[in-house]
């Protein structure tokens, strides 16, 4: 049994109050000088057994009544037969986290978190409310409310099957709010089944505050969070960051940036077989993972020179989470790397143009279009992977702003550089502050940069970019919410920032490459790496072979034109490869699903602060049924105890004194 207000259990010793009062009463009761002790002692002798039993029963019932009151206010939750005694809400709303990480399994039983949670939930709902409540399911993959006829449907509906998607938990909560508001669902129990993965819950998301405020205004909405936060044991996961096809005069090969991860406290070397299947042909290699991460950059897999395009997957042996043991990829002849520079300042656009036109990959063609701000609309939107925008930010609502937004939504990249006259316009949540001219002083350096990922990450061989030796003479502040990737020394603020706008690759760089502003152009290497990484990011959505993350919208508005290359169902929610004509798309779980971080209980408490909620943390090994609020049972117990106590305290039927007649008889004699 658990309690919604467990702190109030501290009041449980108050249950002994009747006993204490009884004892006090015993020693402080009034004194009566009594002569007829003979009768009193006789009565006590006659009464001894039953009287004591009665007194003990009365005390026990009083203690029970007080304890029951305390239990009522602590709002107990119980499953099983006790749970049956709880009241039924009007609506039971099940919010199901169908993210890929919910497929982590108990290796002993082979049951996933999702399956175990659904099974428990179905049983609990069946036990607790039966068919008395309206049962509605909203799953994270589709986000649509589905009416369920019975609780058992939870384990059989396609809407509750496994996916390789991520879960937008604030979005799911918003869907619940919309449902409750639209349908006026009355007293509603919202059951949330999730593994509390931080990337899904996004506790920093601004929507949580709004949701909390909205739910606070509602009466009768209770949240039950059924959580499975335990990570899978000894789980290995594989991801591929980039796949490129290289061809030389004598051979062709696929170069994969591959990463194998695990999350153990004391990593021991482990040899794992890695199986590659490319266009249906399998090869296996063994690798040894010594730490928690094994990164293999540009791993070469030889292919036939005649194979220009195709698909494949990399597989690890089965473990507690089969979902992250496979990663799909597609490849094709690489498209030309189109970039566009929008700038009116030739001194600045020159170095940029030179860097972007230089081939980072000799097998690919690099094309850069240089446009002035007035001609920005002429950007070849379809082919451009990266736009470098060194011009005033477009106003929201402008046609060019919408085009830029579409560009980002299509998976392409924009790098914003500060204009000479920044204004307070914002785009993608970020904007420019004012220039800070440091030319008269000693140039500033970069004091910190993120070297584990993103544009300034270390190189493939692990060596760091020489970001620290950059000299910043002029610096333009960046305003808004974003992820800082580099910071200028002296507390001037972030030099490079990534927008938090979901799914977009939008960067703001707070200086210019020209010699008047920084040493970016002079040193060249950092700028080259930065620009080409941004270009490569944008280029992933170019061409006829694309990598995407599994989601309901992954295949666009008309997913029916896409056919799986293997016989796999549930696309686009499951990982796999789909084809439509010449186009290939590899669908995989989003990278956030591989992150082991889960929401802490304090963070969860903060998200639901002020709301009526309780958390049930189950492990996969739990076979317990779920719980229902059973305070009514304790209220009933209290009433029964008080009634019993009243009956026991009720004075017996008053007898007509027989003394008078006896006396009379005696007197007559």
């Amino acid at each position: 049994m658990t309690f919604l207000q467990p702190a109030l259990l501290a009041a449980l010793p108050l249950a002994a109050l009747p006993v204490v009062i009884h004892l006090i009463h015993l020693y402080r009761r009034r004194q009566v000088k009594w002569a007829a002790m003979m009768f009193l002692r006789m009565a006590q002798r006659m009464n001894k057994g039953l009287s004591r039993l009665r007194q003990i029963l009365i005390l026990a019932l009083r203690v029970l009544a007080v304890a029951a009151i305390i239990f009522v206010v602590t709002r107990p939750l119980a499953g099983g037969w006790l749970g049956l005694t709880g009241g039924a809400p009007d609506t039971v709303l099940v919010l199901l986290d169908r993210s890929a990480s919910m497929e982590q399994k108990n290796t002993a039983t082979g049951v996933s978190k999702r399956a175990a949670g659904l099974s428990n939930l179905a049983k609990a709902i069946k036990d607790a409310v039966g068919t008395r409540s309206r049962l509605v399911l909203i799953d994270s993959a589709l986000g649509k409310p589905v009416d369920l006829g019975k609780a058992d449907d939870l384990t059989s509906l396609p809407q509750t099957e496994a996916t390789d998607t991520e879960a937008d938990m604030p979005g799911l909560m918003q869907a619940a709010l919309d449902y409750i508001t639209t349908n006026k669902s009355g007293r509603t129990d919202v059951w949330v089944l999730s593994d509390l993965q931080q990337s899904d819950w996004e506790p920093s998301d601004g929507r949580w505050g709004t949701l909390r405020s909205a739910f606070l205004t509602m009466q009768g909405v209770r949240f039950h969070l059924l959580c499975y936060p335990q990570p899978a044991q000894d789980d290995l996961g594989v991801t591929i960051d980039h796949v490129t096809r290289h061809e030389t005069s004598d051979k062709a090969e696929l170069q994969l940036d591959l990463r194998i991860t695990r999350h153990v406290d004391k990593p021991q070397p482990l040899e794992v077989p890695l199986r590659f299947v490319i266009n249906g042909v399998a090869t296996t290699m063994k690798v040894t993972i010594k730490e928690n991460d094994l990164v293999m950059q540009a791993l070469s897999i030889p292919i036939s020179k005649t194979v220009k395009r195709g698909w494949g997957r990399v597989e690890l042996p089965d473990d507690a989470w089969a979902g992250n043991n496979v990663f799909y990829f597609v490849f094709d002849e690489p498209p030309a790397m189109h970039s566009a520079i929008v700038s009116d300042d030739e001194a600045e656009s020159g170095p940029l143009n030179a860097a972007l036109s230089a081939a980072a990959d000799p097998s690919r063609k690099y094309v850069t279009t240089l446009l002035s701000a007035r001609r920005a609309a002429e950007i070849p939107w379809e082919d451009t992977a990266l736009i470098v925008w060194q011009a005033p930010l477009p106003k929201p609502g402008d046609a060019i702003a919408r085009q830029l937004s579409d560009h980002v939504a299509a998976g392409r990249t924009i790098l914003f550089l500060p204009p000479e006259s920044p204004d307070n316009t914002r785009i993608f949540g970020l904007g420019w502050a004012s220039w800070k001219d440091e030319s008269h002083d000693k140039p500033r350096n970069v004091e910190w940069w993120r070297n584990d990922s993103d544009l300034l990450a270390n190189t493939r061989d692990g060596s760091a970019l020489q970001v620290g030796s950059l000299e910043i003479s002029r610096f333009c502040g960046i305003e808004g919410d974003g992820v800082p990737l580099a910071r200028v020394a002296g507390g001037l603020g972030p030099l490079l920032m990534r927008s938090l706008d979901r799914g977009g690759n939008v960067y703001f760089l707070g200086t210019l490459p020209g010699p008047g502003s920084s040493s970016l152009a002079r040193d060249g290497v950092v700028m080259f790496a930065l620009l080409h990484r941004a270009l490569n990011e944008g280029a992933t959505s170019l061409g006829k072979a694309q990598q995407r993350f599994a989601s309901a919208n992954a295949l666009g508005a008309d997913p029916s034109k896409w056919k799986p290359v293997e016989q796999k169902a549930s696309l686009p929610l499951r990982a796999g490869v789909v084809a439509s004509g010449d186009n290939l798309i590899a669908l995989n779980r989003p990278p956030g699903e591989d992150q082991p971080q889960v929401l802490s209980m304090p963070a969860l408490d903060e998200l639901f602060a002020g709301l009526d909620f309780h958390v049930l943390t189950n492990t996969l090994e739990d076979g317990h049924t779920l719980t229902n609020e059973v305070w009514r049972t304790f209220l009933l117990a209290m009433a029964v105890a008080l009634l019993g106590e009243a009956l026991l305290c009720m004075p017996g039927k008053r007898e007509v004194p027989v003394v008078k007649s006896s006396m009379g008889a005696a007197a007559e004699k």
């Binding site: 009463h25 015993l26 009761r29 009034r30 004194q31 009566v32 000088k33 009594w34 002569a35 007829a36 002790m37 003979m38 009768f39 009193l40 002692r41 006789m42 009565a43 006590q44 006659m46 009464n47 009287s51 009665r54 007194q55 305290c649 004075p651 017996g652 007898e655 004194p657 027989v658 003394v659 006896s662 006396m663 008889a665 005696a666 007197a667 004699k669």
Partner: protein, 300 residues
């Protein structure tokens, strides 16, 4: 001073009760002539019986008329009237102090005993006083106003203390009261009736006429309490904590059993028993007592 000490005597009540004689229910062996029957034949005007003359009889008592009619000698016997010896046995154990100050059970007993003593003395009977307590007081029955004064003064001075010694005191009294007497017991009789019966039979064996005033408060019969209380034994015993709501029923059963046993005692010993509730007027109790003792002429 004497008047204060004898405040338990109410002149108005005495005046009213003077009209009622105090009779013994059995023949008494008094020392002087009085109003009460004697077991010996005497010279009163009350005819008792004829019996045949035997040599040695006083010839003055021959009934010559009967001789004249029947030519046989008969002695005509008359009842002998003698005075009454009344012994007032007052229980002075701690339980007699029950009741509000000035209206305790002992006060009530004192009123009854004092009034009876006065009435008896007024009709020329001898009055004695015995207190049934750990420190016994024994005043043998004597006649006279001075002796009455002594009895009343002693009566005024007794206090309810200590445990009950009723049974031993009754046995003691049975042994010590020399001649037939009217033994008036005034007590709460909180003793087992079977043991009391033994003491009463002892008194009866000594040919005493026994009157018993059983003084009880209505509360002691009904046990009419509404709240639990600590009942402290007035005779120095331990305290008993009791919840009347739990115990009252059995208390009344105990009282009922006790009273049934008392009935049996009264029935088998033939004592003059009076259950007196302390809220009753003692004058009424005495009227009932005195009227009950007026002899039935036919039955005599």
């Amino acid at each position: 001073m004497a008047g204060d000490r004898r405040s338990f005597l109410e002149p108005a009540v005495l005046a009213r009760l003077m009209a009622l004689p105090l009779h013994a229910r059995h023949a008494m062996l008094g020392s002087v002539s009085g109003k009460h029957r004697s077991p010996v034949r005497g010279s009163s005007l009350e005819f008792a019986q004829y019996r045949k003359y035997v040599p040695g009889d006083d010839t003055r008592r021959l009934d010559w008329r009967t001789w004249g009619r029947s030519d046989r000698f008969y002695i005509k016997e008359f009842e002998a009237d003698t005075n009454l010896r009344i012994c007032l046995l007052i229980d002075t154990s701690g339980s007699m102090g029950y009741g509000p100050a000035g209206a305790t059970r002992l006060d009530y007993a004192r009123r009854l005993a004092g009034t009876l003593a006065y009435l008896a003395a007024q009709q020329g009977d001898a009055v004695g006083l015995w207190s049934l307590a750990e420190k016994p007081l024994e005043i043998q029955a004597r006649r006279g106003a001075t002796h009455l004064g002594l009895v009343l003064d002693q009566m005024a001075g007794i206090e309810p203390v200590g445990g009950t010694t009723l049974l031993t005191a009754l046995h003691d009294a049975a042994e010590k009261i020399r001649q037939r007497a009217l033994v008036v017991v005034l007590s709460d009789l909180f003793v087992p009736p079977a043991e009391l019966k033994s003491a009463v039979q002892h008194l009866r064996f000594r040919k005493h006429d026994i009157a018993m005033f059983h003084l009880l408060d209505q509360k002691e019969i009904d046990f009419d309490f509404d709240r639990p209380a600590r009942f402290i034994d007035m005779e120095g015993g331990e305290a008993v904590m009791a919840d009347p709501s739990l115990i009252a029923r059995n208390y009344r059963i105990a009282v009922k059993q006790y009273m049934e046993e008392m009935n049996e005692l009264v029935r088998t010993t033939g004592i003059d028993y009076h259950l007196v509730k302390l809220h009753e007027r003692y004058e009424d109790v005495l009227v009932r007592f005195l009227l009950g003792r007026i002899p039935n002429r036919k039955g005599r």
